[in-house]
């Protein structure tokens, strides 16, 4: 018995002398959280040129496609806002360590005095994932001094061991952020839902904005990217007169593409047409029987065979 006591004493002494945050389990939780790279929408940089700034095109420039890059940049910015919250837990060690739980905080929010935040990540192993883990996480905030009045501002789940190799969904609730007083002047309202799947090709990211914000219109944005540089991007924007354009564009690695465009004027009129363009963003084929896309009819020109081979949408069609 004495030797057992001695051993216990030695272990206790060693435990007291040991300290640090050197935890591989912590890392397993952290790799389940998405990073900016995991959720990035990437369209060719060529699509960022200003309309008319490109070399003269005999058939005109693909102005609709040239809105794709700015739109993707703004979407990425909105994701960066979400991930800014997520990154907080990468900077500090967890305050709660249990078998399948990690917790951080509460800590004071530096930018919003009187508010504090906490984060929990729970890990389970559902049967349908065949041994792979599912991580569910929640970022919560409250006004300091209001016990048990935590509001969830960001919640998500992820299936898989690593965000770079699985699928997940997260929801940022801007209305909840406003309610708890964590909002800034540019904070939009509504929600932002991000769904991503990096488990197989193509990598897909869906960003559904409930309200306009971050410079983009409320829309269900969809992006799919293949390893060879081809992709598919569904996006929306408004022109200066307020007409809404919704675009589903496939593109190849060089930036040539084929898009179906649907528009809705401010007065409620809707229509559509098809654009195909080359790597220089010069239109090579326009199918526009209604002559909506040009000032001088006929707007249609070229052959469909001039359109580049591009991927089609991997996303299921929206319910009727």
């Amino acid at each position: 018995m004495r030797s057992v006591n001695r051993l216990a004493l030695v272990m206790a002494t060693a435990a007291l002398a040991a300290c640090g945050d050197y935890s591989t389990e912590d890392l397993r939780f952290l790799v389940a959280l998405p990073t900016q790279d995991d959720l990035r929408v990437e369209v060719p940089a060529q699509a960022g040129g200003a309309p008319g700034a490109l070399a003269a095109c005999t058939g005109g420039t693909a102005d609709v496609w040239l809105r794709a890059k700015p739109t993707s940049d703004e979407l990425n910015a909105s994701v960066a806002f979400v991930l800014g919250l997520v990154d907080t837990v990468r900077r500090v060690p967890p305050s709660v360590r249990e078998q399948d739980v990690r917790g951080w905080g509460p800590w004071d929010d530096e930018r919003h005095p009187g508010r504090e935040l906490r984060v929990f990540i729970f890990r389970t192993y559902p049967e349908e994932l065949a041994g792979a883990p599912r991580h569910a996480y929640a970022f919560q905030a409250r006004v300091k001094g209001t016990p048990d009045d935590w509001t969830t501002i960001l919640a998500g789940t992820f299936d898989g061991a690593s965000a770079s190799r699985g699928e997940g969904i997260l929801l940022l609730d801007f209305d909840a952020i406003r309610a708890v007083g964590l909002d800034d002047l540019d904070t939009p309202s509504g929600t932002e839902l991000v769904r991503y799947d990096r488990g197989a090709e193509p990598v897909t990211v869906e960003i559904i904005l409930g309200h306009e914000g971050f410079g983009v219109v409320d829309f269900g944005y969809q992006y799919a990217g293949w390893a060879d540089g081809t992709g598919w991007f569904a996006y929306a924007f408004r022109n200066p007169t307020g007409d809404l354009f919704m675009v589903g564009a496939g593109f190849d690695a060089a930036g040539a593409g084929d898009a179906q465009i649907v528009f809705q004027t401010a007065g409620g009129f809707t229509g559509g047409y098809r654009h195909c363009w080359d790597a220089e963003a010069c239109l090579v084929h326009v199918l526009d029987p209604g002559n909506y896309s040009c000032a001088t009819p006929p707007c249609s020109f070229g052959e469909a065979s001039a359109c580049p081979a591009v991927p089609s949408s991997p996303f299921p069609p929206p319910p009727p």
């Binding site: 060693a14 435990a15 040991a18 945050d21 050197y22 790799v31 060690p93 883990p133």
Partner: protein, 526 residues
Amino acid sequence: MRSLLAALLLAAALPAAADLADTRRFALVAGEPDGGAGTVRLRYAERDALRIREILSKVGGVRPEDTRLLLSAGAPAFRRALAELVARAADARARGERTLLLVYYSGHAKDGELRLGAGRVGMDELRKALEDAPVDVRIGLLDSCRSGAIARTKGVRPAPTFEVKAPAGGPEGLVLIASSAGDEDSQESDAIGASWFTHHLASGLLGGADASGDGKVTLAEAYAYAYARTVGSTMGSAGGVQHPVFLYDLGGTGDVVLADLAPVAGGLVFPEASEGLYVVLDEAGRAVAEVSKRAGASRRIALPPGSYRVKRRLADDSGLLVSRVSVDRAPVTIQDADMDRVPLERDPQKGFSGRRTALVAGGGAQRFFDRAARDGLFPPATLAGLELAVRDDLGRGLAWGLDAALGGGSGTLRMPGVDGVPVRFAELAGGASLWKPFALGRLTLSPGVRIGFTWLARSFPAGEALPSQHFFTVTPGLTGAAAFRLTRRLSAIGRVRLSYLFYNVDENRSLGFVDGLVGVEYALGE
């Protein structure tokens, strides 16, 4: 006693000694701790040789180019050096210079042979070499067991039966001085960190033996002093009383001056009134000189600049007189009245020759035994380290050390279902060890224990978006080293440590790891 009397008579009978500058002096100084199979390695033979070489250089009038110092060099090197010096001395003599050849040896001897490692040099051989050497004065100083045998071979009579011839010209002939009689052991002392005979001979040459007070230490004075002090020091020793002997077959006029204190202006002066045994200690507490004097003539000890402590034990054993002095270029007078009286237990003299310090530098690797720990927590690392090793400080044969090492590595962190994550790993480790060295010839094995600390950190490439992590813990363990002595100061060393690490972040785990180091050890202040 007869030898002492003879030496005293000799010292009194000889005319005034000639100056050192009159004679070109050559010296072969050898320290050989290893006596081959069946002998115990001597601890201080090399230090004795170094000390004598230093004294001969400073006050013995021997030029550096005329000195050969052999440390653990073996018999062939001894013979070569002796032959070379004999030849050089003969050349000098042929040019008309007066010459003196001194051979000093500290080491093992047995059955009429000097034992230099695995080699042997017969005392007959050495004596004949000295007898035949075409040098005016040949002196053999042997500090080894039964070395007195050299003085009784071939029918030559040992002192006190000597004969002094007095032809014209300086002294000529052969003098052999041995540290012990032919049937006695010569003893080393841990208290002084030297053999008794050499210690007293050295003290005498530094001025302790200058009974005449003329600033010169003659052969006879040195022998008389070393004899008296060696007998006195070994009187109560377990090894028995040690009687140095000498054979004095010297003709010509005047005695041989072994040391002239004049070139060393600094030192300690014990005035006429001083009486007793004064021990001079260096900063490490090691005895570097002694003065045993009676009231009467003052006595000066030549010492190089430095800080020293002088102690004298009171006659009634009620305490010590201790004084701290700083020696520069002028002599410092030691007055009993200026010394502090301290209890005996505050004796500043360190036992076991004082502590010995060494630095170890090397590089190595570390590896955890558990594979999961290697893959998931602590990948193998390479380390570079420094260690301060202190021997004979806590007790005889014990050593302690402080070590620090810095290292790291890179690898791949493996987690279930996740692609391998590149990781960089850094480590800072340190600790204190206690070990016991076991000398086996030139090889020393040192098992011991260690209590250490380890600070570990890992970081990940920026793209991984994972935070850096660190861990600190205490790591007790065992240590073992093997050191092979290359030179007097330098050893090659290999060390293995087995350490325990308690990991408690993810879960409580007891882990073990091994680290190995190869490097060099450099002895300081030997």
